[in-house]
Point group: C2
Chain length 385, copies 2
């Protein structure tokens, strides 16, 4: 319980920082076009689309419309990989349901910080809306009731209706613990309750049903499609975040979840640390290993090379490679980046987006990226005048 | 003197880390092509060219041929902006003389760590080759002999000759202090001797002449063109590095500098901190200010926005914009980056390369870049699985 209280305090502080400058939806200036003039900063604008396949965001009176529960998830995650992968994964689920061409993205406006914080808590006399089970008094890892629901996020999807934006869909992400970390006393040692995949799925589905019912009680959400997606949190020591495993699309007005669509997303870290560790695809790991051995001895001081790899339906759908080494001159960074481009194009698997970041103790030095359909890598060396 | 000794110790340590795995130039595998195979890691390869207008670098037995004086300049600069701008500026000077299509870049192989460290020291009984004036015993800012030469760098330019690479040109950069920082006692307060532009120029030219004479005594450097470029170091508290102000191209065999070509490069920081501060071009500053005011209130918490701007012959030749703000979700980063792309394309001056990096306390979050001829910005959000 200490943990939860601490997290709530953090959330409240985060909220205080955020400010409360959000207001109801006004007239829409000129949707879809660049409307960033300094003079007419009133009304609603959109952020524009940096690339196809991304949602535009909503700007109100020159200011981004931030989430009503802004900052809660930051304080709910000890492993920031869970934060990033939860939010970008939820966007990917939403894209299956709400087309980026038709819908505009808005940070959640219907669940407030206090609502989300209460829902993430344990059910109790003082917190009747808690979605996590009551505290049964046990501190035994196997006998206590663990915290199942660790984080949740609301995303709103709007469509243009005349000159206004209209709420036309909502996506809710539920982040469920695979391991629940707890302490027996304040600031005491950390213990953990492991939660099986079957339990994660079962509890997630139960919570989703309750969330759907509650959302339908809000007037604005009564008659919009609500997508709910279930995410399994990675452990706190993981070098890659968790993954979504199921989602349900609930038509306007429905108050219980009819069916779930399974999602097969897996994350891996290369190089694998032990021979028994799971590998997404052994060919990809071989490719990565060849690339790694090609570059780590480029300088007399060895570079550190690791990768996150994501697989969807057993196909590689993305790789983030992180290289750390010490540089002694700007020309070394330039030469290394050129060499990386060659080696990456030669060794790394194609057909999936690949990002490579090169860092030293002074931070990022260069960066290379290839899209899923691209053949060559874009490369950039961060310079200074 | 303490400062110099400390810096030398640092340089020696850096050298020890580097290792000594450099050897003489061998057979050239297949220059100009991608020759990064794991099996034939013997011989000389090139890094490949990431983009037109960049030099390829030299790889020897799968390892980058690092400078013989690797790490000396790192320890000579308290302001890292002076390090980066010195090295990339020297590359730009070299490009005026040695075409990137014809020449291959090699880190300096003829001036060793000990040579450079000695040359950067004061002339004394124990250091007869010191290029800085003898210590006259005074600790008065105006009466003492300041350290003029703060850093120097050798860059080698090779051409292909049959299957071998042949040294065909050398560039030497000399970094000259505009302010010499010194202490009167070990670990004591820092004092400074200001050095006028006229003195920087005069002393730089004298040192260049002596360096040219010495280089001609080395057999390998007797009959190659040697370009010497003079750089004025920025102050230690500057938020932008110094600039090159002159260079001389010395034909093969010549032992004294005949003439100097002036270079007009100026660096500025926007927003200017005081009304009397110098501005590169008031239109550019207005553009930057409009961009800044458009984005700094995007979130309820204000973003920090600063820029380095470089002018060559009074024309803007580059801008690096650095934005720092706090994000509460991945979707905030995506939306902000989309918005930045719109605002940058609308407000920022065109015709010069512009880089924008977006960071939070967790490091870089996204990045946008436009080339000098480009119309739209490339944008990238750093994500995680």
């Amino acid at each position: 319980m200490e943990e939860i209280v601490m997290k709530r305090i953090k959330a409240v502080i985060a909220m205080a920082v955020c400010g409360l400058l959000l207001s109801a939806c006004g007239n829409l200036g000129s949707t879809g076009t660049t409307s960033t003039s300094t003079t007419s900063s009133k009304g609603t604008q959109l952020t524009g689309q940096a690339s196809a396949g991304q949602y535009q965001g909503v700007i109100k009176n020159s200011r981004y419309r931030t989430s009503k529960a802004r900052g809660v998830n930051v304080s709910q995650n000890d492993n920031t990989y869970n934060l990033k992968s939860f939010e970008s994964g939820l966007l990917n689920i939403s894209k299956k349901v709400f087309s980026t061409n038709k819908y505009v993205f808005q940070e959640g406006q219907y669940l407030s910080t206090s609502t989300v914080t209460n829902w993430l808590g344990r059910k109790s006399k003082s917190n009747p809306t808690g979605l996590n089970p009551v505290n049964n008094g046990s501190t035994s890892p196997t006998k206590r009731n663990p915290i199942y629901l660790q984080q949740m996020e609301e995303q709103d999807y709007l469509t243009e209706s005349g000159k206004k934006l209209k709420l036309s869909g909502v996506t809710i992400g539920l982040g469920l613990n695979s391991i629940d970390y707890y302490t027996k006393t304040a600031y005491g040692s950390t213990y953990q309750t492991d939660i099986s995949n079957a339990t994660v799925k079962k509890e997630g589905q139960l919570i989703a049903n309750r969330v759907l019912k509650r959302l339908r009680q809000k007037k604005a959400l009564k008659n919009v499609p609500i997508t709910i997606a279930l995410y399994k949190q990675a452990s706190d020591d993981s070098l890659v975040g968790g993954t979504f495993f199921a989602y349900s699309v609930n038509k306007a007005g429905t108050t219980s979840v009819k069916s779930w669509t399974p999602v097969s997303v897996k994350n891996y870290v290369y190089p694998t640390t032990s021979s028994s560790a799971k590998v997404g695809n052994s060919n990809d790991e071989t490719d990565f290993t060849n690339f790694k051995s090609q570059i780590e001895n480029f300088f007399p001081n060895v570079a550190g090379v690791t990768a996150q790899a994501q697989y969807t339906d057993k196909q590689l759908t993305g790789m983030n490679i992180s290289i750390t080494t010490q540089f002694y001159s700007e020309t070394e960074i330039i030469s290394f980046t050129q060499y990386l481009k060659q080696a990456a194009e030669k060794y790394l698997p194609s057909g999936a987006p690949v990002d490579i970041t090169v860092s030293s103790t002074e931070g990022i030095q260069s960066f290379l990226s290839r899209t899923s359909s691209g053949k060559s890598f874009y490369s950039h060396v961060f310079s200074s005048y």
